[in-house]
Symmetry: C2
Subunit: 568 residues, 2 copies
């Protein structure tokens, strides 16, 4: 029996659900409305249009074979009726009708539905500050924002950019300004790190340092108190600690799900906004589905509601809704929270929970940090990658892996392999023994992911006793207390320069330890450092074998210390 | 209580097991013997040394921080005693003694053990043909082979190379000769495709065509019958069909596990060679472990014994053995068979079973082929990737994924994500909904892996009825029968050239289908082609909706047809 489907929202999830359903039930009718005139665009491409990587904003609204995804396209190619500039003003669940209003003419109408898809997306979080509406202040939301920002740059009057927020969009926009246009770029972030809650302070600091080298300045722990202008145009941003001049200001302080209409219709919503859906992407009204940036789904590691406004979520959830509209019972069981962000020539990525998030969710969690080459050490093109694994101590369950570094797809490939497994509740042993495809141009014989599992195993068992670069920073800051004895266990030539500069820096190459035990005191904590943490681990075992009790191995070694920016 | 461990074989698994055990039990003794003078080298790096990517063969024998992994290194850094040029001649399991002989002096000795690790590796399969010992004929086994081959090239007399075998090593060596040195390179393969049994004929043909463009010639279905020389140096290779001139010949016809000594000692071996081990990597003698290239492990998808001579297997199994030697019960539950091989600027990779292997294992298997961009279509750097998924029809269980194309790590990253999940017996729905980290520089909002799952879903349900480029080739070859009506459903401009050349090629853009139904006959099989198979899928649904019954959608579209090399 033919159905009549109405879809509110025409950007990511809406079109996907509409088209999938229409392919399954070509005889049914689908009407998709959107309050804007632009639909089905790739909003996540905006930073790449601003940077110039994408040359024409039109590309964000096209298929991969350059067909414009406009209402005509949806009608002819997909069989979906689209009404643009049409705003839903009320959902009457009793009558199964959506009341709409043409935003240009003000004309009202009522669209009856058998089933409804609520796909209203999210809106940028506003600061609600004076000056936020000045010319030159933008959000990063739709192609119109993108065009406005890029036109501003092209006009040549942009020398200084201030970005509010160091999450995904903030960092992507910072790169776009600094890398492609050489604009003096500052990021103001209210917390004390980039990508708060998503990665550890150690990884965040590495990413931050990399972006600083690319010309981006960061101001952490500062909130914006006002935006000031001259002649109606933005001129400066006032934070809790300073004044930053600005020709352009980007507000990237997160997004808020557009769930007001749903709430007014009595659909169950999360206390912080967002429509709550079950594993079939169904709201508490069995005739109404919701998904994408306006919905709250289940986080498979915390069991709590998760808000992940990502185009990938919208697309996959859209297909699930399309199936369910057609009566093909299909599940979207939840999310593990995978992410990646490109930062100049490198990237920051992760899946599952960071240590902070894991602890907040009540896990007795630990993490280990590892630095290793991303492919065979003898292969000419290779880079150091940093991975951190979060796990539950008692159960050995893996809770998340985050990483930094390595250009191209090497890091995201590792993260995706863990992500694929994560909902199966893997233990660290499954990471130790993960069967990654091996060949020297692609991985080491013992891939960094396998080593990461091994490191976690050794840490749980107390065989490898160590801390990361942040832990080293603390120990080094307190070196004058004399509690620690720092031993560089690389070869002499590698350690010499540091020894000249620092009287507290000692050198005993790992292979010579058994012959030079008298140089290493037993009554202090012995801090062992090598290139990446592998030789210092061997040294630790040798010292323990000789009765040393307080040994701290620096995970990631000098590589991590340098990436973290410790001044030695 | 201190143990006395003997390890036979010092290349990959042996050193790993020895060092891991020694870290767990520093007070125990480990003696590792090898009949060669070179130990612990990266044999898988040989093709990259021959190509010149690795400049010095020494690098294959070093750690990532340039320490030579020689007996002195193992003694000082790892605490492992190494005896090189020492061949094991007999294992006396009663007395728990390994009888050894110095290969230089002929001196004999007996090494007692508490536990023994059998890590003898594998040897190249010889052709047993006259001329195989001529100068210029090499196997690819150890750094000495590598040095000899490279010296031959450097001497400047190598103009023509013939490689026997189109598996991993054969293809890597073919690339090394053709790409870096411009040598006229031919590959002779006894089966009818590259990477037999590992990938489908469609993927193999794409890879072959790519290598042919790189200057490599292939001769399939031919066996070598003789190798002939002049003045003691190789001059030509005689196959069952032709004579190929050759200044250098590489025999890459696979490897055979070195299990003779184990067999003589009464250890259970596979009928085709290789020591059989349990999930603890233990032989049928509880005091003897085996692993790496000489062992047979369990294939998790077939339940049969699997022989995977890969450095990655050896390393991971070595750690498991090291643990078990120290009484830490650790499992190696089996393999899913992941692989990757670099082919010039692209790669061929897979995990699990190919369609052929799945059918041979008794599965009622199907496969689908998909071509899609490896990241957001609007992102400037992107490539088409081809993936094929093999699955069981009834259970929807995924049995394998193989792929071709995309430079860098994009393909191997997808394969690894599937590999990670494969032993959990995922269904295609888990691939449809796999949560890959999303950002336009790394993936599409609907990643190619998700689409692959969706395609399999549609194929199982009969919604998407199609064949790959090999199926198209067959249909096209029979076009004169008039049974098929070929419809290019791209825009007119895209189809025009093909229509001029082929009277059998017709064009109805997908968006115009409902208005031009009278052009499409109902009494023939309608073959639908677009760029990659997405629009032809939409067209198929539209035609079905209008009562058409025999429709064949070409999966992968023109992209696959071109990569497969169909002449239109």
């Amino acid at each position: 029996m033919a159905q009549n489907i109405v879809v509110i929202g025409g950007v990511a999830l809406g079109p996907k659900a509409a088209c999938r359903f229409k392919r399954l039930e070509p005889g049914s009718t689908v009407t998709m409305i959107d309050q804007s005139s632009l639909i089905s665009y790739g909003g996540c491409g905006i930073p790449y249009y601003v940077s110039g990587d994408v040359s024409d904003a039109k590309e964000l609204c096209e298929t991969s074979f350059h067909m414009l995804r406009d209402p005509k396209f949806f009608k002819e190619v997909k069989g979906v009726d689209v009404q643009i500039l049409t705003k839903a003003t009320r959902i009457d669940r009793e009558k199964k009708v959506v009341e709409v209003e043409n935003v240009t003419t003000g004309e009202c109408a009522a669209l009856p539905y058998d089933k409804l898809v609520y796909a209203t997306g999210a809106s940028p979080r506003k600061l609600n500050l004076p000056g936020e509406d000045l010319k030159g202040v933008s959000y990063v939301c739709n192609p119109e924002d993108a065009t406005r920002i890029r036109e501003g740059i092209s006009s040549g009057v942009v020398n200084k950019a201030v970005i509010v927020g160091a999450g995904f969009i903030g960092l992507e926009m910072a790169e776009a300004f600094a890398d492609m246009w050489g604009i003096e770029t500052s990021v103001v972030e209210i917390t004390d790190q980039v990508m708060p809650r998503l990665v550890s302070p150690a990884l965040a600091t590495m990413a931050q340092q990399h972006m600083e080298e690319g010309g981006v300045d960061f101001y952490f722990g500062e909130s914006v108190t006002a935006i000031e202008g001259e002649d109606g145009k933005v001129a400066r941003v006032i934070t809790s600690k300073r004044t930053l001049e600005a020709d352009v200001v980007i507000i990237a302080a997160g997004v808020i799900p557009n769930s007001k209409l749903a709430e007014e219709a009595g659909l169950a919503c999360h206390e912080r906004g967002g429509v709550i859906v079950d594993e079939f992407m169904r709201t508490n009204d069995p005739n109404i589905y919701a998904g994408g940036d306006c919905a709250i789904v289940k986080h498979l590691l915390t069991g709590e509601g998760a808000f992940l406004p990502l185009g990938s979520m919208a697309n996959r959830q859209g297909r699930v809704i399309g199936n369910n509209l057609a009566g093909r019972e299909t599940r979207f069981d939840g999310v593990v929270g995978s992410f990646v962000v490109k930062l100049f020539e490198t990237s920051l990525a992760g899946t599952g929970l960071s240590l902070e998030a894991a602890k907040a969710a009540g896990y007795d969690a630990l993490s280990v940090l590892l630095i290793q080459l991303d492919r065979a050490h003898f292969y000419p093109t290779k880079e150091l990658m940093t991975l951190e694994m979060v796990f539950e101590k008692e159960s050995r369950r893996v809770l998340g892996v985050q990483g930094f570094g390595s250009s191209g797809d090497a890091l995201v490939g590792r993260i995706n392999a863990v992500a694929a497994l994560l909902k199966m509740n893997p233990t660290i042993d499954e990471i130790s023994n993960m069967e990654l495809a091996y060949s020297p141009p692609f991985s080491a014989a013992m891939d960094i992911l396998n080593t990461l599992g091994n490191l976690a195993d050794n840490a749980i068992l107390g065989i490898n006793q160590g801390v990361g670069p942040d832990g080293f920073q603390e120990l080094w800051n307190q070196r004058e207390s004399g509690d620690c004895y720092f031993v560089d266990c690389r070869e002499k030539a590698d350690a010499e320069e540091l020894m000249k500069r620092n009287p507290d820096w000692h050198n005993v190459p790992q292979g010579e330890i058994y012959n030079r035990l008298d140089e290493i005191p037993k009554d202090k904590s012995v801090v062992l450092v090598c290139n990446t943490g592998a030789r210092s681990y061997e040294a630790q075992i040798m010292l323990q074998d000789k009765g040393y009790e307080n040994i701290i191995n620096i995970h990631g070694g000098m590589a991590a210390i340098n990436k973290y920016g410790v001044k030695l």
